[in-house]
Amino acid sequence: MNLLPTTSVGSFPKPDYLKRARTQASRGEISAKKLRELEERATREWIRFQEEIGIDILVDGEMYRGDMVTYFAETWKGFEISGLVRSYGNRYYRKPVVVDQVKRAKPITLEWFKFAQSLTKKPVKGMLTGPYTVMDWSFNEYYKDRRELTLALAEVVHEEAVDLEKAGAQYIQIDEPAVSVRPEELPLACEAMGIVTQGLKAKTLTHICYGDFQKIYPGMLEIPVDQIDLELSNSDFNLFELIRKTPFTNGLGVVDVHSHRLESKDEVKKRIEQALEVFRPEQIYVDPDCGLKTREVQEAKDKLRVVVEAAREVRKELVASKPVA
């Protein structure tokens, strides 16, 4: 693998034809088969694009997923999906409800992983949502408390991870965006992640966003994954300062280098160079900020291009300044 390999957090925007088709499918105007064809087409397009611009670790872009928790919850046993609740503004979502023991009836992500991996020789990441986040984003009507539900979910996510690994996944990302919300529950999130990643040989990652790192750093370094993907560009305060005080020793950091606008290549390079002051080069993977699914297709492509070009240039400079022994 290159120094400073490039990847992305997970989701890409759905092309307009797919957005339309999803609406039509929800009204029963097109068949599930037709929708599936369009999801595959969009996945092919994103894989091809990532190959074209030279991304090192690919994602399938999640053309077939809506919400990152509901996607799993609606297939697992023990869940029901609630009525609509508001998240902010005019955005509403159906929140999963745990009404019985959670169990996995069948693999959820396997088929799409195999499909995406069949389209490229480069590694495709397996993408899962972590047990702590699924717990935090669901109503719990069945388990005694948050801990019991989280640990039950950890077993189910672990089964999914094992299946992905068997199918050839070299990288498995288990996202825990909720982990920074209640710092006192970080040990629980760590314990649950330990169950998920236990015995896996694939490289495991988790992405952390939204939160106040100050509250969970350095405790979050205990999350048992190989790499932690940090949202650096949208953070208000200087995470680098914290890292300087307590260095990242276990495993690799992945760096998000993009904010909500399209930055220039030089700005992204500067971010990477800042990161190099506190991380060893081999610790750093480069990717744009939090999932890109809320962007327009063109905007997401532009962002990815800038990230890849910036990483490529910094890589060259690194190699030139420090010849590999």
């Binding site: 609630s82 009525g83 508001r86 902010y88 005019n90 109503f139 009507e141 939204y210």
Partner: protein, 329 residues
């Protein structure tokens, strides 16, 4: 004698198509099929509906459902001059967000923050409407101050603005005003500052009205009984998911009216009637029925509307049974 009260917000939409007018209206506004005035009329309509549902569910003190509020912060701060609204931040430990206000200049209040909303709801309602404000400490904590550069001065300015709003509310007929101060439970060590800010606010509070300090997103550990020194007539607490609050109430006499959040508004799981009866009896150990109001522990917007209705009806049934038993006795 024992009232049944709303806390704050009510779900803006439900699952039936006819319950989703507000959601659709935002889309219509984006497509320019309606204008801002059209959207306002729809918000009026949804407010009317929320009032009606609360009364039907048996609430004896209702709110306007905060249908116009995006969240506890943005709606108020957006009306105060000197604030600029910025990016989305998570609201405490919920899955909801607010726009962080940044204070860049002297804060100036408009003629009214929520007076018109209160008047509208009050005119429609057959039962008392509680006016709602977010407290100065919480507003200040969730904002960023680049101007006053001193928390006490910044929050103190907000206290004056909110106190003057309370006076306006009282003039148009409000008899109950609730201030939500969840941030206190996250910053307990700052209670001395909190008290100073509230002393400033209390000087402006009109005589003879009920003032409620609502405290959720945590428990009172470390703040009880000191919290009773805050000059309000009633305190609202989470007594559904914060067991420590029960223990504390037993430690020292509760000297104010109690708004007891007995029903969990953040989980769809229904309490059993036995549980609710038991919690009601327990609350009566600490305050008399005259000084007790029952409510959910949070506003109802965290629940799907159907579940919100069920939870209210459930609590209402328990209160009815309690009263019938009293009459018989």
């Amino acid at each position: 004698m024992l009232t049944l009260s709303a806390v704050s917000h009510y779900p803006k939409i439900g699952d039936k198509p006819e319950e989703q007018v507000l959601r659709r209206a935002h889309g219509q506004l984006d497509r320019k099929e309606i204008d801002e005035a059209g959207l306002e009329r729809i918000k009026d309509e949804v407010t009317r509906h929320a009032l009606q549902e609360q009364v039907e569910a048996g609430l004896e003190i209702v709110t306007d459902g905060q249908i116009r509020w995006d969240d506890a912060v943005t709606y108020l701060a957006g009306k105060i001059k000197g604030f600029k609204l910025t990016g989305l931040l998570r609201y405490f430990d919920t899955n909801t967000f607010y726009r962080q206000p940044v204070c860049e200049a002297d804060l100036e209040a408009p003629d009214s923050l929520v007076v018109k909303d209160f008047q509208f709801a009050n005119a429609l309602s057959s039962v008392p409407v509680k006016a709602l404000l977010t407290g100065p400490f919480t507003l200040a904590k969730l904002s960023k101050d680049l101007h006053y550069k001193d928390f006490e001065e910044f929050a103190g300015r907000l206290a004056v603005i909110l106190g003057e709003e309370a006076q306006r509310l009282a003039r148009v007929g409000a008899t109950i005003i609730q201030f939500d101060e969840p941030a206190l439970l996250q910053f307990k060590k700052e209670f001395p500052v909190f008290k100073k800010i509230w002393t400033k606010l209390a000087r402006l509070l009109p005589e003879g009205i009920e003032t409620v300090l609502f405290l959720n997103y945590g428990d009172l550990r470390g703040l009880y009984p000191q919290i009773l020194e805050v000059p309000v007539t009633a305190v609202g607490l989470d007594l559904a998911t914060a067991p420590e609050n029960w223990r504390l109430l037993g430690k020292s006499p509760f000297t104010k009216k109690l708004l007891a959040g007995l029903v969990d508004a953040r989980n769809t799981k229904m309490e059993t009637e036995e549980e609710l009866h038991e919690r009601l009896e327990r609350a009566l150990d600490f305050v008399s029925a005259e000084n007790l109001s029952l409510s959910p522990n949070y506003g109802l917007e965290f629940l799907p509307r159907e579940t919100a209705r069920k939870k209210l009806a459930h609590l209402s049934k328990v209160v009815r049974e309690f009263r019938e038993a009293k009459v018989k006795a």
